[in-house]
């Protein structure tokens, strides 16, 4: 009779020094880190495009941030930082097996994510009213390329929070088994980190 118990067999394609035993614990799971690495590469290309475009069009990039609604940019930064804080609190509570509090913090993180999406949508609308679009100038092309992409990431990660809340309610996570929740948490923090870089590039630096 076949055993249903699964055993972890290392793939043997990485250096031994990269193993969890030698290098430390991998938060979440390996697949989410492959995803995070892909996202970092994608945003890295956007940031490189920004610096190259700024090199060729310094005057346009100097005036660009003055055309944007800085207050919304600041509010969105505070909202995303708060969402990261709530996510970290959710993780702290699942480790103590406090499922009720964990769920509460996940809802708060989701609320922040949705607030970000609403604020960003309003900002895009406000830009439209001012007559700014992707083809206004090179700054706005980079701005829309970067921020709309980030907007999509927040959107699907917010859906993932809903999924994790559903799984939490079904009893899928506990103090000893929460790698799925942790995987979402590290992904969410990565999205926040990308905004930490986007904000000064587009709203602050002249």
């Amino acid at each position: 009779m076949m055993s249903t118990k699964q055993t972890y067999v290392p793939l043997g394609i990485f250096f031994a020094s990269w193993s969890e035993k030698k290098a430390g614990r991998v938060p979440g799971n390996i697949p989410i880190w492959v995803g995070i690495l892909s996202e970092l590469t994608e945003f890295g290309i956007f940031f490189s495009a920004y610096f190259i475009a700024k090199f060729y069009y310094p005057a346009v990039f100097s005036l660009g941030p003055q055309s944007l609604h800085t207050t919304i940019g600041v509010l969105n930064t505070i909202v995303l930082l708060s969402s990261s804080y709530f996510m970290a609190k959710a993780m702290a509570n699942i480790r103590m097996n406090n499922l009720v509090k964990c769920e509460r913090f996940l809802w708060l993180a989701l609320l922040c994510g949705c607030s970000y999406l609403c604020l960003k949508t309003w900002e895009f609308h406000w830009n439209d009213l001012q007559g700014y679009s992707t083809s206004t100038n090179e700054f706005f092309t980079v701005y829309y390329y970067m921020t709309f992409n980030h907007f999509l990431h927040v959107g699907w990660a917010a859906c993932a929070i809903l999924w994790v809340i559903f799984r939490l309610r079904k009893g899928a996570y506990s103090a000893t088994n929460h790698s799925g929740l942790e995987a979402l948490a590290v992904y969410w923090h990565m999205i926040d980190l990308m905004w930490i870089l986007i904000f000064p590039l587009l709203y602050v630096l002249r």
């Binding site: 970092l40 804080y85 609190k89 990565m190 980190l193 709203y203 602050v204 002249r206």
Partner: protein, 84 residues
């Protein structure tokens, strides 16, 4: 009422840095010093999130190194824009 924990303290620091950066950007024309200050504060914000919110401090050292390197490279490019 419970006192502020570490996470609350870090959140406040991150928000204060954001407001400081915005103040610098709004009140000073792009000078070398503003760009350097913004780059350094962005680096600090990134490292705080990586270590304390993402909890990579004490986790896999190569993942932490990867994330931190990212937050050294791109803020350094902000400093490079001074020479544009």
């Amino acid at each position: 009422m419970k006192g502020l924990g570490k996470l609350e303290y870090y959140l406040m620091v991150l928000i204060l840095i954001t407001l400081l950066n915005t103040f610098l950007g709004e009140n000073f024309q792009s000078t070398a010093i503003v760009s350097v200050l913004v780059a350094i504060t962005v680096m600090c914000k990134g490292i705080v999130v990586i270590d304390h919110f993402m909890e990579l401090k004490g986790a896999h050292r190569y993942l932490r190194l990867m994330m931190k390197t990212y937050f050294v490279i791109f803020p350094s490019l902000i400093m490079l824009t001074i020479f544009y």
